[in-house]
Amino acid sequence: MVNFEELYKTYWQKIFRLCMGYVNDADIAKDMAQETFIIVWEQLPKFRNESSISTWIFRIATNNCLRQIEKQKRFPKSEMPINLEEEKPESQEPQIQFLYQCISELPEMDRVIISLELENIKQAEIANIVGLSDANIRVRIHRIKEKLTQKFASHEY
């Protein structure tokens, strides 16, 4: 039986980064990561080892990211106090911030794919999480990395 506390410890940072790459907003990313673990907690008894636990968790997390648009409508960003958005204690280094900003500006599926790749997940597993072929994932990762390198170059990092 898989222990929830252990999963939480192992995956919290990974899931948080995934969400952060998707929205580039620490508060929203934290909420999304929490939502993911709430789903994990609820669904864990139903987990049947059909896939690895890592694939299973990342599927839930990425699917939750994809549904984010439904929630954004409920809490329009413009209604939040502006000063709240300015404090971002999570990452001080401008390079890190720039990386997450670039990723969050990609098309949705590219955000998911590159985030998983940067989390050092094997490409075969990424293919399994997303539902595309290995070859397709490889090509996409290559293209996204090229795009990111270009952006970094033009930003003189």
Binding site: F4, E5, Y8, K9, W12, Q13, F16, R17, M20, G21, A26, A29, K30, A33, Q34, F37, I38, I39, W41, E42, Q43, F47, S51, W56, R59, I60, T62, N63, N64, L66, R67, I69, E70, K73, E90, S91, E93, Q95, I96, L99, Y100, P107, E108, M109, D110, V112, S115, L118, E119, N128, I129, V130, G131, L132, K145, L148, T149, F152, A153, Y157
Partner: protein, 195 residues
């Protein structure tokens, strides 16, 4: 210019302290309670109305068959509404979120299309059943009134129903549809990214 940026290393530097698990579980409970409350409230409200109508039937023993049919139609309208409302709730609850992104998006689109259909069809059905039911139900009581007052009662009710049908119903449908349509478009756009 540095072309050898280690993205993986940069990526991993972003961290956030995990909230403790107790907080998380408190949230789970809160969320469940809020959902359940909403579901219960709608159910109780409509059930109470149905019971109230049935009590009227028992207490006043209507003579005309039209009254009885009217009551049945009204209750039927509310029952169908409740049934679909409760069903659509579990539709979302059971989203198979452990599937691959591709399959999950396909599922979401199917759910949204179903929701879109249900919302407009259901609302139309609800209005038709309710108005017909009301018109039939009123007949027995208005027939005992003076003709002029009886006609007036019908005219006022008809105006009210027409107002609902031509103003409130399309407005409600439009509002729901535009929300769902937006989401469908967005999910379709994401699905296209996978082609």
């Amino acid at each position: 210019m540095n072309t050898n940026i280690n993205f993986n290393e940069l990526w991993a530097k972003q961290t956030s302290p995990p909230p403790n698990t107790e907080n998380l579980l408190v949230q789970v409970k809160k969320l469940k309670k809020a959902n359940l409350r909403k579901l219960l409230l709608t159910n109780i409200l409509l059930l109470a109305t149905s019971i109230f109508i049935i009590l009227i039937w028992v207490k006043y023993q209507p003579q005309f068959i039209s009254t009885k049919i009217g009551i049945i139609l009204i209750i039927l309208a509310m029952t169908i509404f409740l049934f679909v409302y409760n069903k659509s709730y579990s539709l979302f609850k059971n989203g198979k979120n452990w599937q691959s992104n591709k399959d999950y998006l396909k599922d979401l689109l199917a759910i949204k299309a179903k929701q879109q259909f249900m919302q407009s069809t259901l609302l139309n059905l609800y209005f038709i059943l309710l108005s017909t039911g009301l018109a039939l139900y009123m007949y027995e009581y208005t027939s005992r009134m003076k003709p002029l007052i009886g006609i007036l009662a019908y005219v006022i009710t008809a105006l009210w129903i027409l107002f609902n049908w031509f103003y409130i119903r399309p407005k409600q449908i439009n509002k729901q549809q535009s929300e769902v349509n937006n989401l469908i478009n967005k999910f379709e756009a994401i699905t296209k990214q996978l082609e």
